[in-house]
Symmetry: C2
Subunit: 474 residues, 2 copies
């Protein structure tokens, strides 16, 4: 196995095909890279320009002032093999190939090129992603060799401020657009993404080679994977087993489940989508969490980051709400997600009832009413529900639109998140104000804005615990 | 039937129980009302204060300088009947009762009070919502008698600027929190809400009485309804039939489908949730569109507003994408939603193929590749796909993160939206920039940020056409 560290943590990068025309993809890669404070040198390689976007350019990777660790290739497919060979000879041990026109071509014209790429990478022991990839991002290194608009330098830093993120997420995706989309959906929810790596056709490195590296590195807590196929089943089984043993969940979107989807992945990365039932059986064996929805994947990741170390012991949920209708609707959603919403035990009910007006109820959903939540706050009720032996986890329905009640409750909410042995989720049925997002992140709660995802995430946590315990028993 | 116009379009409003303490619900109602430029007088009625939040207060509705059209009651339940009677005698013909403690009480202590309310309203022929409601909003009148934090005066106007909204939506909901949440989710998507009316226990007016009024009024194009029960089946059948005949879709969330949900609606509004299969059969007969997800309901409404007059003739979808992975994933989502994603006809494929590199495909999903979309733009490809006799509607996958390509295409996109005989949806797989939201709204496309909702909305349009044609044939 080549050194994936050279790929993800290079000290210097050559961009082969770099251009000054930032309206095209070739120019955008360099522009995006320059927008982030990567510490090492970036060498544009261009046959036609001596300077590209203000950087000195070089005619060939042979002529760099010092050898680069990583080459980014964005040149026509037919030139890729010879350039990759040149990289190998120049001592470059990693490459990401953004060019398209390989195994995914409809007429098969690029198949031979892809075989050449694979052979060259093997010969020089190079760590290569692609071809037909969209590059990657390493946020800690501020390195973004990609043309994804999501990684364009903007006001939002690549990772949340200190204290607002729990753990780190890695995205590994055959699809560039969809991979970076997961980052784009998760970042505003204060998820800290360590890596986004797109693998395209996977001529050389496969998704699970990267998972393997990241598990070894030990800094990634949750994996979001978008797969069009699993090329080497043995690698999947070995790595998925390691992940499950380590308690690092793999949340997978498997593309190409339908006939049309299968046609699409064939033309997208040359992948054979396979029979989905086979994948499902394989995934279930290793506790892999499947999802069909990008937003849901991100929400499940947020749930694991917050409460992955305190998984629910079963599927019984307590709902605590100041909106009676919200409680009813969420109870339906929990039931649809395969969770139970049982009535609470008498002792817990008694402790709650003393605070409720006649039109509230402690049955579960616990409708504390707007009046009682004004008087008592959210945290004390959530704590009482979490204390019930009848439930394995709690969902609190809040409105984060005007967060004054939540802010008043701030310290109690923080203490509860720290002390609770059961997962406690927050669903804001209105769009949360920024102060609410910050409070929840700092306190360590996942904040859901989708009711359905909230219910499904609780189910995913319960399923994962169950799958892991079964696996560990052997 | 009392005059619902007096309720929704009063010339003057009395707020019974108004308070200067804006940290409590009684103070918030008046504060929120004052935050919007309602043209008529607002009369606080208070036993203890001569002035409330800067307005002259009155000891009783008997003592108002002129009779009010509408009374808002937020006082303890036990005082509600006598105050409502006083309103009736003073000539007030409409009321919204925000107080709780009626049929929803666990011990039934409020049942008799609710019967009294009903009798008084009937006696004086008053249009009454509630009790246990959260008030309503009439955006055109800038009237928001509610304590919902969603209606607090903020920078965002109640409705989108001219030219950005197609048609108008009404929300009618037994649940206050969930009803206003639909507004909160839809407003940033440039949906124009004409009314949000919460009905609570529905002692007097029921949801379908309000739908009936709004159908008569003829200004509402799409209805979002959250029901815990249907109290009078005959009203439902008559009104749902009118709505279907008029082509005004009813998008319904039916709360209380599960055992726990059913328990919750009983304690929330005293509703008997009933057997869901019975509701489903009734809904299907009248083309009512059911949804279990607030975000999905809003997205389906947006789809109807844009293309309700050009419903798809069948379930066949063309997908046009610059992200190959996005095309595959959406094809899976469409299939899961019960849509077909067939291969396109040869003539259409030929016209597309001339623009594609070897690694693109016109099969469907049509993967035009990032390169071709840079060269040609989104609109020409979307037009070619829409022109195929093999499809009934089109979904275009875009990235609205950096909208430069879409903005370049602006005029062509507008023309296409105007001219297309088939619905064309846009799914942005990244969070759309404000400029992208504005462009799509102005051009008249629904812009989806959820892939799954986008697919389901197309299915809802197809189903609605089918149900309506069946119904019209009799």
């Amino acid at each position: 196995m080549p050194d994936i560290g050279k790929l993800l943590w290079p000290r210097s990068v050559a961009v082969i095909g770099a251009s000054s025309d930032t309206s095209g993809l070739r120019g955008r890669v360099l522009q995006i890279m320059k927008g982030h404070p990567f510490a090492g040198p970036i060498y544009p390689v261009s046959r036609s320009a001596s300077e590209v976007q203000g950087l000195q350019a070089f005619r060939s990777v042979d002529e760099l002032p010092a050898p680069a660790d990583l080459a980014v290739l964005i040149i026509p497919a037919k030139f890729v093999p010879q350039e990759l060979e040149r990289c190998g000879k120049a001592g470059i041990r990693a490459a990401t190939i953004l060019s398209s026109g390989f195994a995914e071509t409809a007429d098969g014209s690029g198949l031979a090129l892809q075989d050449e790429v694979r052979a060259i990478a093997r010969h020089h022991d190079m760590a290569v992603t692609g071809p037909n990839a969209e590059g990657f991002a390493n946020t800690a290194a501020a390195l973004c060799p990609t043309f994804s608009p999501v990684m364009e330098a903007v006001a939002t830093p690549l990772v949340p401020p200190d204290g607002r993120a729990r753990g780190q997420v890695a995205v590994i995706s055959q699809s560039g657009g969809m991979g970076f989309a997961l980052f784009d959906h998760g970042r505003p929810k204060d998820l800290s993404f360590r890596y986004v790596v797109t693998t395209g056709n996977e001529a050389c490195l496969e998704a699970f080679d990267l998972v393997d590296y990241m598990l070894e590195e030990g800094k990634t807590d949750v994996f979001l994977l978008l797969l069009e196929d699993v090329k080497t089943r043995a690698t999947f089984e070995r790595v998925a087993a390691s992940a499950l043993r380590a308690g690092k969940p793999l949340i997978v979107g498997k593309l190409g489940q339908s006939e049309a989807g299968s046609r699409a992945v064939r033309s997208h990365t040359g992948a054979l989508a396979g029979v989905h039932a086979d994948y499902r059986a394989l995934f279930e064996r290793y506790g892999v969490i499947e999802s069909r929805d990008p937003g849901e994947m991100v929400d499940i990741a947020a749930a694991f980051l917050a409460f992955g170390a305190r998984l629910p012991a079963g599927k019984r949920v307590g709902i605590c709400t100041s909106s009676g209708g919200g409680g009813a609707w969420l109870a339906d959603a929990c039931t649809a997600a395969g969770l139970d919403v049982p009535e609470l035990d008498a002792a817990t009910r008694g402790s709650i009832d003393v605070h409720l007006p006649a039109y509230g109820t402690s049955q579960n959903p616990v409708d504390v009413t707007a009046q009682a939540v004004h008087a008592v706050g959210y945290a004390p009720f959530a704590r009482m529900v979490a204390g019930s032996p009848a439930v394995d986890g709690v969902i609190v329905i809040v409105t984060g639109r005007n967060p004054r009640l939540l802010l008043r409750d701030r310290e109690a909410l923080k203490t509860l998140a720290r002390e609770s042995a059961k997962p406690i989720f927050m669903w804001s049925y209105t769009r949360p104000a920024e102060a609410c997002v910050a409070l929840m992140s700092e306190a360590g709660y996942p904040l859901f804005t989708s009711m359905v995802n909230c219910a499904r995430a609780m189910r995913a946590l319960a399923d994962y615990r169950c799958a892991r315990e079964r696996f560990m028993r052997g």
